[in-house]
Amino acid sequence: MLLERHEQLDLILDNLDVAIRGRGALVFVGGEAGIGKTALVNAAVAGARDRKMEAFIGACDPLATPRPLGPLQDIAYELPDPAIIELLDRGPARFELFTACLKMLRGRPRLLAFEDLHWADAATLDLLTYLGRRIATTRVVLVATYRDDELDQTHPVRVLTGELGTGEQVFRMTLPPLSQAAVTTLATGRSIDAHELYRLTEGNPFFATEVLAAGTAGVPSAVREAVMARAARLSPQAREALGVAAVVPQRVELDLLLTLCPDSEAAIDECQHRGILVADGGGLRFRHEIARDVIEHSLPAAHRRALNRRVLAWLRERGSGPELARAVHHAVAGDDWDAVLEFAPAAAARAAAMGAHRESAAHYGAAAVAAEHRRSPSDVADFVYRQACACSLSDQMAESLALFHRSLDIWQQAGNVRRVGDTLARLCRVQLTIGNGATARAAGDRAVALLEVQPASPELARALSTRAGVAARANEYDDVLRYGRRAVALAEGLGEEETAVHALAYIGCAEFERGADPDGSLLTAAIERGRVGGLDEHVGRSMLNLASVQLSHHDYPAALASLAAGISYADEHGFDVFVGLMRAERARLALETGDLDAAADEAGAVLRRYQAQDTRVVALTVLGRARARRGDPGVWEALDEAWRIADGTQEIQYLGPAAAACLEAALLLSSRFDASVKVAAATLDLAEARGTPWQAGELYAWLARAGRPEPVTTELAEPWRRELAGEPRAAAEAWGALGCPYEASMAILWGVGADESDARKAVDQLQRIGARQAAAVATRRLRERGIRRIPRGAQPTTLVNPAHLTRRELEVLSLLAQGLSNAEISARLFVSTKTVEHHVGSVLAKLGARGRVGAIGEARRLGLLSESPSTVASPKQ
């Protein structure tokens, strides 16, 4: 009996009907433990069967460390889908695996469920992200449940539901507690006071049914009591079997139960009759995970340990290799250190191959603990080191640092110079990622110094390459070449392809940046070589660097294409960090080409989702500048944090724009003038020593505009040079040729000696790109100079009939944007072509467009089409 869930069930069933006709949906179901998520899923399964549709459920396990892609495994074996099974067995084939899953989803119409996402491993969440973005093109309704009371704001599941939540055909629901009326219905015919029951259980269905089943006269004060009361009514043999079952997370095989509790068929039946255990495939499980948890913790510790060891023995006996994650779980719970050492490293490797790095780290951690018990320090150091590597791949930087330090200490005590040097190089990389430039440099220097007096080794090649990276971030081009070339020579000599490609990419980037390799051909060659060698991560990072340098050269068409290709690649290969960095760069591109809306929106989206400091500093600088130019609130909030991060890195690539942004904001908002001038002048020193002609130029110009000019001592990029030389119109033309309308206008309005009509046009340009504050300040200054007849800004919108599109019209519009013809749209929506024509006509009229292309453009401008990284057009590389 499913109480008070009709609306939610109907939503799922309605979407099943739509899925049959070719339009899938993703439904997130959140709620506290015991609220009835599984009951809803079961009702949905029944509904699917009524419609002659297949239904499959996969669950994330409450294992100490979950199996990678657990739910997918469950479903793939049940379907069965040989292609997916083969890819799962094969190992690292993430991209093929995801596309195979998508293909399966586009097959027969089905209902799929992923339960208990709060226990999901990283790979499952990535898969769900990938499928969720494309769910409308499948024929599946995918229901994903999770406990929302166990998640904090930064939990990966929250990020997932937030990111996907506004996508096409994605629904989110939270199950509320039962009302008093429903609890009263449950309690009909029982001697328990329904009001008392409701008050104590607060409408939680599981708690309420447990209490009713326990049949005690009074109402227990906690779920635990209720579960124990129910268990107390069992015979001793049944209680024993229950205890064994409680030790096995998720499903316990019948054979396992019988092996550990011989001749207990009757006892097991009793548990089933009492409703505590239910049948599940080839085994049994607790009716609810809460009950299992309570029973497990009620077992005496020694007994629990012994049971786990026996379960592990059974797993081994079963042959064909025990499931690794399960084996590790029972080995750890049974304090069986040898078994942990046997299984955990393999489990870690397997998780890493699936891209579940968080889980990989946890397994290595368990192995390290076991190695400690076995008193084997070098093993401990090795496992801790691997754990640290896995942490850095899963964005757990603080943990990664601490773990590398720990392994470093152990190796220092053992006098193992090679590993000490290698770990220092790793620490250097992590410190760079976090933004501690000085600490990174020190670690890198120490690593190289230690290793270069030892015989040549792969560790030395890696350390040299890492040190080249430090130099690259600090724009020390000569050092990049020096360290980088040594690294390449040594790596190629030792056959270390990955290190060689890594170093070649740094060299290519440096040469491209300083103009020694104008086409970026060296960097492009490094990307290709990485692709050929299957070095996905290097390819991803190098694509990011290519786009970044093109952007810093203001080659916007090339940068835009590189960003689109790069984001697509990184997204598909699961390099979340690179996606974040590139989206931040894309925001910067939008700002520089005068699209303040896109810049602020993308920067905001990046800040909501990504934590990495080098991503945030770029996004914050862009956001602060966009707000200042528009006169929106929150300017200093963004720029102060940007400066704080930039200051920590001491890298001119961040300090330069941040300082210029602060001075720009000070002039536009008339606040913090002196402080901003000071900061800009100090940063100029660094730019003169280490910056590019663009970074230095910007700082010189803003200082001059602020009335605090500094003597020019370095080479400047052309538009800045012209402005400082008193040629505002030439400067504006140079900016115009690059495609930077804001800078073009500002050169005229703040440079010296511009003529009046140019000034008026510049103000108009600022207003047209929405830089209202900049326009207002410029207008005031022009009036002070006695110039009249300054344009007042775009006409306010005449709003007679706002363009409110109906839901149907929005649907048609989105299909238009995907390039479908009227005939294809009518087939997709199951309406006549005449109806489609009517809708299209209405859409065009409401948007004030004359053709489909215009309508799509207007719709994009109004933000009516959903944007996700993977929908950016990607020209083939």
């Binding site: 929106d632 306010p796 709003l799 007679v800």
Partner: protein
């Protein structure tokens, strides 16, 4: 969540009323706001409909702009605000109670 006041200027004198001119327009306005994560609290509109000051609750100024764009409303300026009222030190004493208030006997 923050509060923002948006100043708008309208040339046609219809102004903000268009946003609630019918049940459908109202629903569409609120839906668009929800999509942008913005809550419209209320607006002050001039008698001739040419100017309005609209109070919103939103996480960022960009969300407010997005909602305005979706509803095709012009934005002159956005200001972050806090509510302030004239009784920061408690309610007025009984001697200065408003006319018509019941007197305690």
């Amino acid at each position: 969540m923050r509060r923002y006041v948006v100043e708008r200027s309208f040339a046609d004198g219809v102004g903000m009323s268009a946003a609630v001119s019918s049940a459908e327009a109202c629903r569409a306005t609120l839906e668009a706001n929800a999509r942008a994560d913005v809550t419209w609290i209320h607006s002050y509109v001039s008698s001739d409909g040419s100017k309005s000051f609209c109070l919103y609750e939103a996480p960022t100024p960009e969300a407010v702009r997005r909602a305005s764009t979706l509803n095709r409303l012009p934005v002159d300026s956005i200001t972050e605000v806090r509510t302030l009222d004239p009784y920061p030190f408690g309610s007025p004493s009984p001697k200065s109670a408003p006319v018509g208030a019941k007197q305690a006997i």
